[in-house]
């Protein structure tokens, strides 16, 4: 109990510190941070699945749904409030995930990976052929408001970051508890041994289903935040290589702590910002090499560097 409280306090502390530091940061950094936090949210969903032993190469589906919900909600429903737009994305995503979940939670290992990939590619295929929605170019997100602020008149980038921090904090606090709860442990138990889980009286199907739907909803929030910050959505959000990047970041951070995906996402986004400028044709190579190095030398992700040090000290 004590330990849980400490994690919660440090999460809140870090969130406040980042929010304050952002007031003195250049615009590009504010924007990068917002993207990193949004990406971190999607990766949280990937991590939730990984803790249950499932690797999704299609989390981009929910990321894209969240993004397009923001774009479409603003464009066709005239909604401008960011929270309502995010909520719209979550509702749409949960509805779809509840249907897909019935099927995909029956699969494990590469079958789960491939099936989730397929569903995300279906969305990609539909969006690419939707000329009304800009086809491969996508379309712009209308100017949004947040409660009584207006992203046009006030500092939009800063507002997006504050919103991202607040949303991410709430979700991180929730997941910190979730991972230590019965269902969180049940997910890990399913990863370890499904036979025993069933003989304990737990339905692995129900646990995986709930976990899948929540992971989808969180991925959608990440997509919505990205759309709000970037002001644009396009079908590549659902392309499978984007989902591959989420898997990369999840492995980079590891599944050991709720903060890990955010830190990994920040490293990823920062390195990409420079790599794309300095060596545009070597960015994927860097990703690939780093991925191999992590699998070989840091199988629990970079978070294990911190815990290892702690272990040595005590």
């Amino acid at each position: 109990m004590m330990k849980a409280d400490r994690t919660e306090l440090s999460l809140i502390g870090v969130a406040i510190a980042v929010a304050i530091a952002a007031q003195f940061s250049p615009n590009w950094l504010v924007f990068t941070l917002t993207l990193a936090i949004s990406t971190g949210l999607v990766v949280m969903g990937v991590v939730m699945l990984m803790r249950a032993g499932l690797v999704s190469f299609g989390q981009g589906l929910f990321y894209c749904l969240g993004g397009y919900a923001v774009g479409l909600g603003g464009r066709f429903l005239g909604i401008t409030d960011a929270l309502v737009l995010i909520g719209l994305g979550v509702v749409a995503t949960v509805a779809i995930a509840m249907i897909l979940g019935l099927l995909v939670t029956r699969y494990r290992e590469i079958f789960f990976a491939m099936l989730s990939l397929a569903f995300s590619m279906i969305l990609y295929g539909i969006l690419v052929k939707s000329h009304g929605l800009g086809s491969t170019d996508g379309f712009g997100v209308v100017d949004w408001t947040l409660l009584w602020f207006d992203s046009e008149t006030s500092d939009g980038a800063n507002m997006a970051l504050m919103l991202a921090i607040a949303v991410a904090l709430v979700i991180a606090l929730f997941l910190n508890r979730y991972f230590k709860s019965s269902i969180g442990l049940a997910c890990e138990a399913i990863r370890e041994n499904e036979v025993r889980v069933e003989y304990m009286g737990i339905s692995r199907q129900q646990i995986l289903y709930i976990n899948y739907v929540i992971a989808a909803a969180i991925g959608s929030v990440g997509g919505s935040m990205t759309a709000l910050a970037a002001g644009h959505v396009d079908p590549t959000m659902a392309y499978w290589t984007i989902s591959g990047e989420f898997v990369f970041i999840a492995i980079l951070g590891g599944t050991g702590h709720v903060a890990a995906p955010f830190i990994a996402a920040l490293i990823f986004t920062l390195v990409r910002t420079y790599a794309v400028e300095l060596a545009p044709n070597a960015w994927q190579m860097i990703l690939g090499i780093v991925l191999l190095l992590i699998i070989l030398f840091l199988p629990k992700g970079i978070w294990s560097l911190f815990t290892r040090k702690k272990g040595a000290a005590s």
């Binding site: 979730y178 709860s181 019965s182 969180g184 370890e192 041994n193 304990m200 009286g201 737990i202």
Partner: protein, 258 residues
């Protein structure tokens, strides 16, 4: 003397192979029954059918007077019928205490809780109690991977006993355990079983263990029960000696059973 488990005409075929044929067994509440038979005699098939892991080809199974055929492991556990495994089925990369905590949470039907920690003081206490009872307290915070085989067997059985079951099926509790450890392990298990008043059915290869711990024996050969009765009578039976126990000078310490 109420009957707790009853099978009638229970059979299982794998294609043309008969794994179990026309098994009629009635177990009374509180009995401790041994199941013997050579490898491939149908013992594990029988256990797997009764605990819902393997659907029978035909026949009836009733538990506590109600038909249970077609129910999966989950529903059977909720009815009070649990099992342990020949190869312990544990969460290898989780600490022992977590293995027990999740089982306890599940036993309380609290597996869907999202915000409350799984480690409640009550669950920790209950977990520590059973660890003590099984004499494996030293492994409380270790990963299962750090446990020796005997301790894993005990943890596997401990998990099966959580959630107040009424009947426990043990699939070769002493296989893979060294000769010296076997008796301490069985003493520990039987003590825990008696403390809970469980009905037990256990598969065993070691005839000395069978003789020491059970009152009644089912002898399997080629998928059928060839003898069912008091332990001394069954072990003295000629057919049993020929098909199951072999020549009786040394207890056979055979390993796995397919």
């Amino acid at each position: 003397m109420t009957e707790i488990l009853k099978t009638e005409g229970l059979s299982r075929y794998f294609g043309a192979v008969t794994a179990a044929e026309d098994i009629n067994v009635t177990i009374t509440e509180g009995e401790i029954v041994g199941v013997i038979g050579s490898n491939g005699a149908g013992k594990t098939t029988f256990i797997n059918m009764v605990t819902g892991y393997l659907p029978p080809s035909k026949g009836v199974i009733s538990f506590d007077g109600k038909p249970i055929k077609g129910l999966g492991p989950r529903k059977l556990m909720r009815k009070g019928l649990t099992r342990s495994f020949q190869i312990p089925q544990l969460f290898l990369e989780l600490p022992v205490i977590d293995n027990l905590s999740i089982a306890l949470a599940a036993a309380e039907h609290k597996q869907f809780q999202m915000l409350r920690p799984v480690h409640t003081p009550e669950r920790l206490k209950a977990a520590e109690e059973i660890l003590e009872q099984m004499h494996i307290t030293e492994y409380r915070d270790e990963m299962v991977t750090a446990m020796p085989q005997g301790a894993r067997k005990l943890l596997d059985i401990a998990i099966a006993m959580l959630g107040n079951p009424r009947m426990l099926l043990l699939d070769e509790p002493t296989s893979g355990v060294s000769m010296e450890e076997k008796y301490t392990l069985m003493d520990t298990v039987m003590e825990a079983v008696r403390a809970r008043g469980l009905t037990v059915l256990f598969v065993e290869h070691d005839m000395e263990i069978v003789q020491r711990y059970v009152t009644r024996v089912l002898a399997f050969a080629s998928g059928v029960v060839i003898k069912d009765g008091p332990v001394d009578e069954v072990l003295a039976d000629e057919q049993v000696q020929e098909l199951v126990t072999g020549k009786q000078h040394k207890p056979a310490a055979t390993g796995g059973d397919a």
